[in-house]
């Protein structure tokens, strides 16, 4: 127990308090992402001067990225004077919802679009506290089916093929 407290104390000493603030973390992520994107712009193809309309295609994004980096640093400096509002940690349901979105993307892309929607509807409804079967059935089966028919009939939209969708199309 004592060792744990000692270690905790050490980490607190190693990292100054401002490094743990939201303002620093957000600014650091933005600056880091901007640097990565800036590096990518260095690989954009260049056009010969005769075709070059005013500036090279990479110049404008470069200006924007430098501007974003500058503002990000400025934002952090200002946050040292006026700290950002602190936040409660995110509840489990948020991470569940995020995970459900990921699973939806995988199912709808690789198995079936509407199966993905049905999965997402069941999973979110249940993860958000609902247990009654009939409303869950309506939200996860009847409603996506109505939406499918609405888009298919009204807009003549053809949805991507899949396990269930092919039953309708073929």
């Amino acid at each position: 127990m004592n060792d744990k407290n000692k270690n905790k104390g050490r980490t607190e000493n190693i990292f100054p308090s401002f490094l743990k603030t939201d303002a620093f973390i957000v600014s650091a992520i933005i600056v880091f992402s901007s640097i990565v994107l800036f590096a990518i712009t260095l690989n954009f193809a260049k056009v010969p001067p005769i075709l070059n309309r005013g500036i090279q295609p990479a110049t404008f994004p470069k200006i924007l990225l430098l501007f974003i980096m500058f503002l990000s640093c400025l934002n952090f400096v200002l946050a040292l004077q006026t700290p950002w509002k602190s936040h409660m940690s995110l509840p489990k349901t948020f991470y569940h919802t995020l995970f459900i979105l990921l699973i939806f993307s995988l199912i709808s892309k690789n198995i079936d679009f509407f199966l993905g929607l049905a999965f997402l509807s069941v999973a979110i409804t249940m993860s958000w506290g609902e247990r009654r079967i009939i409303p869950i059935f309506f939200v996860s089966v009847i409603f996506p089916l109505l939406v499918f028919l609405l888009f298919e009939k009204m807009l003549n939209l053809r949805f991507p093929g899949g396990l269930l969708t092919n039953l309708y199309y073929y």
Binding site: D22, V26, I30, L37, I40, T41, F44, A45, V47, L51, R53, G54, I55, P57, A58, F60, P61, L64, L65, F67, I68, L71, S72, L74, N75, L78, W84, K85, H87, L90, P91, T93, F94, T97, L98, L101, S105, S108, F113, L117, L120, S121, I124, T125, W128, G129, E130, P135, F138, V139, S140, F143, P144, V147, F151, M154, L155, L157, R158, P160
Partner: protein, 485 residues
């Protein structure tokens, strides 16, 4: 202007647009921007005028609908109704929910109708002025629009500016429109055509809202019962008419400036109502002037925001950015030429906005009690249904699975942006203005033979740059003054 009344098709678009807008406005977390983006795919089956009438009706009625939720459950249905909660809910708690909604309905209708007259008067004038604009002037105007957005938008100007710049950066994804060179495509073919507007809007508004709702599942609404809406009495009118007039003027003016239209307008309308009131101590405790000030201003911003959208092709708010996209999808290019080439089309829109305000008045007075029941739909049913609509709507426009990925990515990004105090509206405006900003900058440099200093030889450009600098400095000057006083 009367076309929407005498054509069955146009009247149907007006009627259903108002109805849908009202319901979307009442539902917390939705609103006219998300609603417009979700409805946009369905407009493809309509002719251009019906489509735009549908979208503008959603805009007008959605802005009003937020007041019903603000008064009855102390949660603004739309961000523009946030100021309405301050006095609407306390008045409802005193057993006067019907009176509070009656005042909100009358003030909203007056503000909305007033703003249509502003639109009819000023949009053609602005279009005429814009005829004289060349590429450098348009570049300076777009920069001015973005700085205004940063300056008077919600939250920190620096964060707003960053979000706007990010939106412009997103618009650079895909083939460069002048040289066809790939930028930020990462070898993905679907990105060569760029990032579509609708997946970004749906992601930033609807999906991020769904994630926000997932963090607030234990929230309990204290609902106030509503018997019937009561129109304001003579004494009420005596007390609020000046406030309504003032707030309508403020709202229409704020609406014209590219910013978050109704949200900012209602806050300013409310604070001005308090400043001029003979009974400022009643504000926050159920003042009818407070309700009227906020509601007249946010609805007056609707017509105001349409002025730059139609006259210059520069959206005045996030919802008008959706309407602008609707116009472009239907092959209508907003700008000065539209006023010369298609005046009937424009007057159809003006008329629709006018009648949408009258129609939501009727819906509000007769059916607010019924409409308010949509707030009883539990979140665990509502949001999966909205997600289904969002996914299908997003897919339908480009028929590309990449759009669904983009929608989800921007949804997660939007959630974290909102969590850390970044507004998502500048991203939308930046994305839609991106091509204009870059295109006009590069064409100007061609005209100037690459000499950047030539921008400073054009008086209108200098004026817009000066106004942009002022717009950026004003919040800090105001803050310093407030601190020193």
């Amino acid at each position: 202007m009367l076309a929407p009344l005498f054509s069955v098709k146009l009247f149907a678009a007006l009627f259903f647009g108002t109805l849908i807008g009202l319901i979307l406005g009442i539902l917390p977390g939705l609103g006219p921007t998300t609603g417009g983006a979700l409805i946009l795919p369905f407009t493809i089956a309509l002719d251009p005028l019906s489509a735009i009438i549908l979208l503008t009706s959603i805009y007008c009625a959605g802005t009003y609908g937020g007041a019903i939720t603000a008064v009855l459950i102390n949660t603004p249905g739309t961000p523009a109704a946030a100021a309405t909660c301050l006095d609407g809910y306390p008045l409802a708690q005193k057993g006067e929910a019907g009176r509070a909604l009656g005042i909100a309905t009358v003030a909203s209708t007056f503000g909305g109708v007033f703003s249509v007259f502003v639109l009819v008067a000023f949009a053609p004038l602005l279009a005429q002025i814009a005829y004289e604009f060349g590429q450098p002037e348009y570049f300076a105007l777009a920069i001015f629009g973005l700085t205004m957005l940063a300056s008077i938008g919600e939250g920190s100007p620096i964060k707003n500016l960053m979000a706007g710049a990010f939106g412009i950066l997103v618009s650079t994804v895909g083939k460069d429109f002048m040289t066809s060179i790939d930028r930020f495509t990462f070898g993905i073919n679907e990105l060569s055509e760029g990032i579509n507007f609708i997946p970004v809007v749906v992601g930033l508004f609807a999906i991020s809202e769904m994630l926000i709702q997932s963090t607030m599942l234990n929230q309990i609404f204290n609902r106030v019962a509503l018997k019937a809406i009561r129109l304001p009495s003579k004494n009420d009118y005596k007390l609020i008419w000046k406030t309504i007039l003032r707030s309508s003027g403020i709202g229409a003016f704020i609406g014209v400036l590219p910013a978050e239209g109704g949200t900012v307008a209602s806050l300013i309308g409310y604070s001005e109502a308090k400043r001029w009131s003979k009974e400022p101590e009643k504000f926050g405790k159920g003042s009818i002037e407070g309700i009227a000030g906020a509601e007249a201003a946010n609805n007056a911003a609707t017509g105001g925001a349409m002025v730059p959208t139609l006259a210059l092709g520069i959206p005045g708010s996030a919802t008008t950015a959706v309407i602008l996209t609707g116009l472009i999808i239907h092959g209508v290019r907003p700008g000065p030429a539209l006023f010369r080439e298609q005046p009937d089309f424009l007057y159809g829109i003006f008329g629709a906005m006018l009648f949408a305000n009258v129609l939501f008045f009727a819906f509000g007075i007769l059916g607010a009690k019924i409409f308010a029941r949509v707030t009883l739909i539990p979140n665990q049913f509502l949001w999966p249904m909205i997600f289904s609509l969002s996914v299908c709507g997003t897919y339908s426009l480009g028929q590309s699975y990449m759009d669904i990925w983009i929608m989800i990515i921007f949804g997660v990004l939007g959630f974290f942006m909102r969590r850390f105090g970044f507004s998502v509206v500048p991203v939308i405006i930046g994305l839609i203005l991106g091509e204009l900003v870059e295109g006009t900058l590069r064409q100007s440099l061609v005209i100037f033979d690459g000499n950047w200093l030539m921008f400073l030889q054009r008086p209108i450009v200098i004026l817009f740059f000066f106004l942009s600098i002022m717009a950026l400095l004003t919040p800090y000057i105001r803050r310093k003054r407030a601190l020193s006083s």
